[in-house]
């Protein structure tokens, strides 16, 4: 029976190891400094934020879906920011399981992307969004919204328009945070407020704005965004932001979102 024992041993040795672990020693400051940031992973998408909100108290997402067409503008920075806010709105419509809302938002995203001269492959994403919305495939829609945003950003990089990439992320973050802080302000709990603790994201966005060309930094809208982010950093530093902090953050995000939508 040696061969049976041999096969058992072989099968057991080939087993994947599952377990629990606290990783070995702490990271050194040098290792913390050398950590890389990959924007498509380091910055959370609104869907991730909303998943955390749903665990605390599922909001009435249907009431939060926005309708309407963004105001026309020729300012490329503003277009990129609005495009980001629309991506966040797309996630809200997905949470609300509002197929027509997702289709409308997808159409607006593609219209704005056209103004930024993105490639045909991005435009094809609009059809995918429609198809998934028709089939109520909400999980696929979440992935498609993120993929669309990433493809727009990739196109911007390839067209040497990388300055706009940060603005798309910024727009999505502003709209997502505006909505989250509004919901948390209405029914404050420390547990919910802890979701807003995001100083590293604000620091990252500020660094990215700091690296924009001087001309773009002087754009009144971008300058306002920078000043608002600097102010908001104080509101989200505590492990549990206070009720007052949440109110201040919500007010700042709402005025920033309004400025993005209407221009200055």
């Amino acid at each position: 029976m040696n061969w049976i024992r041999w096969h058992l041993l072989l099968a057991t040795a080939a087993l994947p190891a599952f377990g629990s672990r606290a990783a070995e020693s702490a990271m050194t400051s040098g290792q913390i400094d050398q950590a890389v940031r990959v924007e498509s992973l380091t910055i959370p998408m609104p869907g991730e934020f909303f998943a955390a909100i749903n665990k605390i108290d599922r909001p009435n997402w249907k009431q939060l879906v926005r309708v309407g067409t963004p105001e026309a503008t020729a300012n490329r920075a503003q277009i990129a920011l609005v495009l980001g806010t629309l991506v966040a709105d797309g996630y809200i419509a997905v949470e609300a399981q509002d197929g027509q809302g997702v289709k409308n938002i997808g159409k607006e995203i593609i219209n704005l992307a056209k103004k930024l001269n993105v490639s045909q492959s991005v435009l094809g994403r609009g059809n995918s969004i429609n198809d998934f919305a028709e089939n109520n495939d909400w999980n696929a829609l979440r992935e498609e919204l993120e993929a669309t945003q990433n493809e727009v950003k990739l196109d911007m990089f390839e067209q040497k328009d990388s300055n706009l990439v940060t603005l798309v992320s910024l727009g999505a973050w502003v709209r997502g945070t505006e909505l989250a802080s509004d919901l948390i302000e209405r029914a404050y709990t420390p547990e919910a407020a802890r979701l807003l603790r995001q100083p590293a994201i604000i620091e990252y966005l500020l660094e990215q704005i700091g690296s924009l060309p001087q001309g773009m930094k002087e754009d009144p809208l971008v300058a306002m965004l920078r000043a608002t982010l600097e102010k908001c950093l104080d509101y989200v530093k505590a492990e549990t932001p206070s009720e007052e902090n949440v109110t201040q953050l919500r007010a700042a995000m709402a005025s920033m979102e309004k400025a993005i939508a209407t221009g200055l």
Binding site: A11, E24, V36, A51, R197
Partner: protein, 156 residues
């Protein structure tokens, strides 16, 4: 700790399959030799692992972290996580890398408690943060030589 995906609870079945396939291998040689491992990219291996978690409701983010790793030179990635969400970070390495591990640290560099899955060239860390904010993922090449890796990010 995030619950193990259903697919990964099935390892006893898999053990029996390996055992009995071994018995049948005594009878005659397999008609289809295994494809060389080098044909499979790190990203597709990581996707295969992350796919097991998505069967349990985890959504795979569209982005990924590719790079090169060598022994004694771990790689670190900064991520921002939300308390209450559950995460799995799945990674894979191409040959000549043989074994990797994924670790999770908080913003001060303190090691966190997390669930592990390690199977040679693929590994994953499952983590539920108690505090929202910045964390670091550590990717270590435990065995093998300098190789390409890919890390994917899933949440629910």
């Amino acid at each position: 700790m995030p619950p193990r995906p259903l697919v990964l609870w099935l390892w006893p079945v898999w053990l029996l399959v390996v055992f009995f396939s071994g018995l049948f291998a005594q009878v005659g040689p397999s008609p289809t030799p295994a494809a060389p491992d080098t044909d499979v990219s790190a990203r597709s291996k990581a996707l295969e692992l992350a796919g097991a978690f998505s069967n349990d409701g985890y959504k795979i983010r569209d982005g990924y972290w590719p790079g090169e790793i060598e022994p004694n030179r771990p790689q670190f990635l900064e991520v921002n996580l939300f308390s209450g969400n559950e995460y799995w970070f799945s990674a894979a390495v191409n040959p000549p890398g043989r074994k990797i591990a994924v670790g999770v640290f908080n913003e001060t560099g303190k090691p966190m408690d997390f669930q592990t899955y390690e199977d040679g060239q693929v590994a994953a860390a499952g983590f539920v943060p108690e505090v929202s904010g910045r964390y670091y993922l550590k990717l270590t090449l435990l065995e093998g030589e300098k190789a390409q890796f890919c890390l994917l990010y899933s949440y629910k």
